[in-house]
């Protein structure tokens, strides 16, 4: 029973029931570098991931110039 996190073209599976923050730590993504949406709505990192959740992670870091 898993939830999915999608960052660009990468998909990560984590156990459901953990917080988003915990899941980000597990996949080594800084919570400061992304925003997370579920069904197009922004969610905060205390949100508990449900079974079959698909969370889109949007990278916020820009740069190079």
């Amino acid at each position: 029973m898993t939830a999915k996190l999608v960052l660009r073209d990468q998909e990560f599976e984590v156990r459901h029931g953990m917080t988003l923050r915990h899941a980000l730590a597990q996949i080594n993504v800084s919570p400061e570098s992304v925003l997370a949406t579920r069904d197009g709505e922004l969610i905060t990192d205390d949100e508990l991931l449900q079974d079959d959740d698909s969370i889109k992670l949007i990278s916020v870091i820009s740069g190079g110039c």
């Binding site: 800084s30 919570p31 400061e32 570098s33 992304v34 925003l35 949406t37 709505e41 922004l42 969610i43 905060t44 990192d45 205390d46 949100e47 949007i58 990278s59 916020v60 870091i61 820009s62 740069g63 190079g64 110039c65």
Partner: protein, 312 residues
């Protein structure tokens, strides 16, 4: 997590402010905070004619949106760099700016580098000795020159850019590592005009985290380019941002404290150098009339002269 203002479900939690807000209150908060920052640093007034440099990215389009909603007189300036990188980067960027301007019914000025200089940025870079093969140095020099020239020629009072706190702190961090006191002295939310050919510049988003400006753009439904510039791969600024974000995760507010403490230290004269009275003296470039720290042509005109000589 609940919105601090209304108790509804929060859309964003900002640990650095110990503040979580719902969508509506967050959008209001960004507007009120921007107005506060503009006032605090005396950036510009409602009587000023403002041009905002837009790239098609989240920060510049969000800034244009915010300033319009705050009833400032603001128009956009897009500079077409001619960067393809296999993703039609510049073409896409331009179309996001045009779409935004159409929706806002605002004026977007467009300057295409290949029309101005007969070369795109990548082409200029190949012909210039600047930047060791990567176009970034040529790009930065050219954009700054064009933005300044455009703003002065068209009679704007101030040029604003979408630099956010993460941009400022990454720059500050790098300049501190190298102890580049000249650059540190010149880093500021507002850069005054110290030469008739130099536009006044301001960064109204300088105290917003990148995550905050991105959230504003998303919640407002602003369509922006997600792709990074293809030449940004391996950029030091991105590396520095990642390092600083690691610090921020453990110490919420560290980035903001670093920046604010720097501004306070500057105000107290911490970065004053010997002979500092000469630091703001600028000469006039005999080719373009713009400011330069050297006698003779400015760095941009020297680059263009060299490229043109190479083509003869």
């Amino acid at each position: 997590m609940k919105c601090r203002r209304c108790g509804h479900k929060a859309s964003i939690n900002m640990r650095q402010h110990k503040l979580a807000l719902c969508k509506d209150h967050y959008l209001e908060w960004i507007l009120s905070q921007t107005e506060r920052i503009i006032g605090k640093y005396k950036m510009f007034t409602h009587q000023d004619q403002i041009v905002v440099a837009v790239s098609g990215g989240k920060d510049s389009l969000a800034l244009w949106d915010v300033l319009s909603r705050l009833d400032y007189n603001v128009e956009g300036l897009y500079i077409g760099l001619g960067i393809n990188g296999g993703i039609s980067y510049s073409t896409k960027s331009r179309s996001y700016c045009e779409e935004f301007a159409n929706l806002q019914k605002s004026k977007l000025n467009i300057v295409e580098i290949n029309k101005e200089l007969d070369n795109t940025i990548p082409e200029l870079s190949k012909q210039s000795s600047r930047g060791r093969g990567k176009p970034c140095s040529v790009c930065g020099l050219t954009k700054r020159h064009i933005m300044n020239r455009f703003a002065i020629d068209k009679g704007y009072d101030v040029l604003v850019t979408g630099h956010n706190l993460d941009d400022e702190v990454a720059t500050l961090f790098n300049n501190t590592l190298n102890w580049s006191t000249g650059y540190l002295q010149r880093q500021s939310p507002v850069l005054e005009s110290t030469h008739p050919g130099l536009i006044r510049k301001a960064k109204p988003f300088c105290r917003f985290y990148e995550r905050e400006t991105a959230a504003y753009a998303l919640l407002r439904g602003i369509q922006y380019i997600y792709d990074e510039c293809p030449y940004a791969v391996g950029a030091k600024s991105i590396y520095n941002k990642a390092l600083l974000n690691r610090l921020e995760v453990d110490r919420p507010g560290a980035k903001l404290s670093f920046y604010l403490a720097f501004l306070k230290a500057k105000e107290e004269g911490f970065f004053t150098q010997k002979g500092e009275s000469n630091i703001n003296l600028l000469n006039t470039c005999p080719s373009c009339g713009g400011p330069t720290t050297v006698i003779g042509e400015c760095a941009f005109c020297r680059m263009v002269t060299k490229v043109n000589q190479g083509n003869k």
